[in-house]
């Protein structure tokens, strides 16, 4: 609010000036310091820790038959046995990292493609805009899971293909968000200023526009990660994941649901991990979004007030 009162706010003390600010990371840091952000980060951290450290601390091999099918938890098998008598705990510990890696890769791929499409559409306008945005509409017309299944059933359940397919269906919504954010930016005078230097469009987009889109990009990354995890787990549940003996949280729910009454832990634990991960990612994203909006609103007020020399009654 201070900024509103000081439209022509003078430069702060030199000491404060010299510390170069990395704004992107400061947004993340500030989000992590909010209550919401801390909770989200903690939830994600727990699940990630299990998935990363798990394979090294698992008591058995995830594919070894150590007990009877759907054996109840006991001293040696803390979470009991699964459909084939393998140790549920070991499979849970070993079955997360690939899901996380694939979901993250898909998210990065989707956000990069979507951002490139959205920024180009908004900045280049004209037929490029039309082409990109109509394609986006077409892809969005299919439910994303159906679209991925379609792709996977054509080429076969390869892991790289699943990753790319899941990433691909994330791109259109990202493109839409980034397009509208860019439309506003590309009319700014500082963009006009470099256009007057004859700067190439690709350079304008990468060096002038992109740095100003960090905030919406971070929000999109978080949001898309949540969706990727859900789709990945869903695909695994349907059998599109690593081939069967390998452990996978999504597939575990599928293969063990017939034994729900004898050993519910074989379903509950992987399902809970997936839920905690998505809720955590979503909560943290929400925290980022709140920080960003707070920051931006302040910035806008300052710009407005400095342009007009004052503010109005609300």
């Amino acid at each position: 609010m201070t900024s509103v009162l000081v439209p022509d706010s003078p430069s702060p003390a030199p000491a404060a000036v010299r510390t170069r600010r990395r704004r992107g990371s400061s947004t993340l840091a500030r989000a992590a310091r909010t209550r919401r952000g801390a909770i989200g980060l903690a939830l994600v951290g727990i699940v990630v820790a299990i998935a990363v450290i798990g394979p090294f601390v698992a008591p058995y091999s995830p594919t070894a038959f150590v007990t009877s099918p759907f054996a109840a938890p006991s001293g040696s098998t803390l979470l009991g046995g699964d459909v084939l008598g393998r140790d549920v705990l070991s499979r849970v510990l070993a079955g997360g990292w690939l899901l996380l890696v694939m979901a993250s890769a898909a998210t990065v791929f989707g956000v990069v493609v979507g951002a490139a499409a959205g920024i180009s559409a908004a900045y280049l306008r004209g037929s490029t805009d039309g082409l990109i945005m109509r394609s986006v509409d077409v892809i969005l017309a299919f439910p994303s899971l159906v679209f991925v299944l379609l792709l996977v059933s054509i080429v076969g359940p390869k892991l790289w293909l699943i990753t790319i397919a899941v990433g691909f269906v994330q791109a259109p919504p990202v493109a839409r968000v980034l397009r509208s954010a860019t439309l506003d930016l590309s009319e700014r005078d500082y963009v006009k200023a470099v256009e007057l230097q004859g700067m190439r469009p690709a350079k304008v987009m990468s060096s002038e526009l992109l740095p100003n889109l960090v905030s919406p990009l971070m929000v999109e990354l978080g949001l898309r990660l949540t969706y990727s995890i859900v789709i990945m787990a869903g695909l695994a549940f349907l059998g599109f994941g690593q081939p069967p003996p390998a452990p996978n949280w999504g597939y575990m729910i599928q293969e063990n649901r017939i034994g729900l009454s004898s050993n519910p832990w074989a379903v509950i634990v992987p399902a809970a991990l997936i839920s905690v991960l998505t809720v955590g990612a979503n909560t943290f994203t929400d925290a980022i979004a709140r920080v960003v909006i707070g920051v931006e609103r302040q910035g806008d007020d300052a710009t407005l007030a400095s342009t007009l020399g004052l503010g109005n009654l609300p």
């Binding site: 009162l5 430069s11 200023a193």
Partner: protein, 606 residues
């Protein structure tokens, strides 16, 4: 503090008003004034001075994050400080009315004018026995034509000036005893502005209303108000009768502010106030103006100067007795070299359109090398479009433009690198023309990297030199734009344009987003650079008063056509076109000019 003895009746009395940030720092402190019925008090100051905060406090309102923490605001004998929200709502409109800068904020776009006025009156049934008659009366008094069916119109069917007059009429309709006008003419054209000001003056006088008129524009205030309170960093630093304060300011800040106001009557250099005001909550101890004051001495910094009575007004300055009569006066602009007969830029028969809407019609323009040509026009005259066609931001035009003997292609993308380098553009709004994610060094180095591809060392040297030329130290290079004030940002924009040594510099309303004291500094900077670097300059402006200070040639645009062009002196002294005549007449001028002869012994350096 008030300059006059207790008046027979006071409509509004502010005493020791203090407004604090939630964090505890005060943004407005020790503000006191009185306004009597029928009188207008001008509350003037630059952005950040706290004038709007005080104005809003008169309605018992504090913006988010602020609190009224002390003092009294008595309206009709009732103290607004400490009243509950419900009671305040009853006071607003009935006792105190508010006219915002943007009339759109006061009018509901979906309701007819008549409906809105009746609603406003219905909320205050005591205001009039016969609402219809009352409405008709105020509208006529506000010089709005009832026969034109204005009551049945929607706000968007009215012009900006009419909207503002409706908003003012509405404020007066409810018979409130105090009216707060918050820069109601900012954004209006000079002629409209003059009519609105007349409306305000007449209504206040005939309805016996006490008005507080907030403005950053000293020229506007000088012709309107009877008392003026000059604010600086949240305090009133000079308060007194308008003619005294304007003709012979005592506080060094008031003196500096007045010296910075351009006049259309003479070709004077402008004197800006160096430095910038402190941020609220970061006031230095003692006199807040001390860091910028040419008279400052140790005792100024010891304590906040109490108001002293000097020559019929109150001044917060410990050296008030010595400063009187020392207002600096700008010198005569040194006669520029005779305008050369060669042509650098020739525009011939330029027609420009936005879609199918014609903005410029057959514009001819000739710019001689090493001169400054001003393009003057009101909003909508097409002056910015002309600038944008020349620099290559607007490509939808036909006609001919020749620069250094070769034709200019429409649109920057179709121009040679060399042409792009030789014509540089400074944008109107320094708050949007610098990329917020880049350091000043990166911003100024960008055109160098693009046009010159120099080594890192040399680029850096040139950046520092360019910043030096616009009086910014090398320590600015690593800051980000949002760490700079508006004036500093505009200097960076100028440095970015000059770093590649252009031939033609196009300045599009470069001072319109800046305070008057900063404007003076920027104008003087541009004049100096133009002179030193033998630059050719195209200075686009709506401010006729500035033209004389900077340009040698002028072109007057009206509705996309050139109505007059020629040497500045000629146009200002003997305007030929009726439009120009009216424009010059309507420019607000300081009604009380600091007497000639003063300024000889002034410590202000021009």
């Amino acid at each position: 503090m008030t300059a006059v003895d207790a008046p027979p009746s006071t409509s509004v009395e502010v005493e020791d008003l203090q407004i604090r940030l939630a964090g505890g720092a005060d943004v407005v402190d020790e503000v006191s004034f009185r306004v009597r019925p029928g009188e207008i008090l001008g509350l003037v100051g630059e952005s950040g001075s706290g004038k709007t905060t005080v104005a809003l406090a008169l309605l018992g309102y504090a913006r988010r994050g602020l609190r009224i923490t002390g003092g009294h605001i008595r309206v009709g004998g009732r103290d607004l400080v400490g009243l509950g929200e419900g009671e305040l709502r009853a006071v607003r409109g009935a006792e105190v009315a508010y006219v915002p800068q943007d009339p759109a904020a006061a009018l509901n776009p979906t309701l007819r004018i008549g409906h809105q006025m009746r609603e406003a009156l219905a909320a205050h049934p005591d205001a009039a026995d016969d609402p219809e008659a009352r409405i008709a009366q105020v509208l006529v008094d506000a010089r709005l034509d009832l026969d034109s069916g204005i009551l049945r119109k929607y706000p968007h069917q009215l012009s900006g000036g009419q909207q503002q007059r409706v908003a003012i009429a509405m404020a007066f309709a409810c018979r409130s005893s105090v009216i707060v006008l918050d820069e109601p003419t900012t954004g209006l054209d000079v002629s409209t502005q003059r009519h609105v000001l007349e409306t305000v003056r007449n209504l206040c006088r005939s309805y016996g209303v006490a008005a507080v008129y907030v403005s950053h524009d000293l020229a506007v205030v000088s012709g309107l108000v009877s008392q003026v309170a000059v604010m600086y960093a949240g305090r009133v630093i000079e308060l007194g009768p308008t003619e005294r304060v304007f003709a012979d300011p005592v506080h060094p800040y008031t003196q500096g502010l007045l010296a910075a106001v351009p006049t259309p009557e003479r070709a004077e250099t402008l004197i800006g106030v160096p430095g910038h005001p402190p941020r609220p909550g970061h006031r230095p101890s003692g006199c807040s103006f001390a860091p910028r004051c040419p008279y400052a001495e140790d005792r100024c910094r010891a304590q906040n100067p109490p108001p002293v009575q000097v020559d019929g007004r109150l001044v917060r300055c410990v050296r008030a007795s010595q400063t009187a009569g020392a207002t600096p006066r700008g010198g005569q602009v040194v006669a520029p070299p005779a305008v050369r007969t060669e042509t650098l830029l020739q525009v011939h028969g330029l027609d420009a359109r936005y879609g199918r809407f014609a903005v410029l019609r057959h514009v001819d323009l000739r710019v001689a090398p090493e001169t400054c040509t001003a393009v003057v026009g009101e909003s909508g005259s097409g002056k910015t479009t002309l600038a944008r066609c020349i620099v290559g931001l607007h490509a939808n035009w036909s006609g001919q433009m020749r620069f250094e003997g070769t034709d200019l292609a429409p649109g920057a993308r179709r121009r040679d690198k060399e042409v792009l380098e030789r014509i540089q553009y400074v944008f109107q709004n320094p708050y949007t023309s610098l990329n917020p994610r880049k350091t000043i060094r990166q911003i100024v180095a960008q055109p160098l990297a693009h046009f010159r591809a120099l080594g890192a060392r040399e680029t850096d040297e040139r950046v520092v030199t360019a910043l030096g030329e616009v009086s910014l130290g090398a320590d600015f290079a690593d800051r980000y734009p949002d760490q700079l004030s508006g004036g500093e940002r505009q200097r960076v924009a100028i440095a970015r344009a000059l770093v590649v040594e252009p031939t033609l510099l196009v300045c599009d309303e470069v001072t319109s987003a800046l305070d008057v004291s900063v404007q003076a500094v920027i104008v003087e900077l541009l004049r100096r650079l133009q002179h030193e670097r033998h630059l050719t300059m195209l200075f686009i402006t709506h401010n006729l008063a500035l033209v004389r200070s900077i340009a040698q040639e002028a072109v007057v645009l009206c509705d996309g056509r050139v109505v007059e062009s020629g040497p500045v002196e000629e146009i200002m002294e003997r305007p030929a076109d009726p439009y120009t005549v009216r424009l010059i007449q309507d420019v607000p001028k300081l009604a009380h000019r600091v007497g000639a002869g003063s300024g000889g012994a002034s410590p202000w350096s021009p």
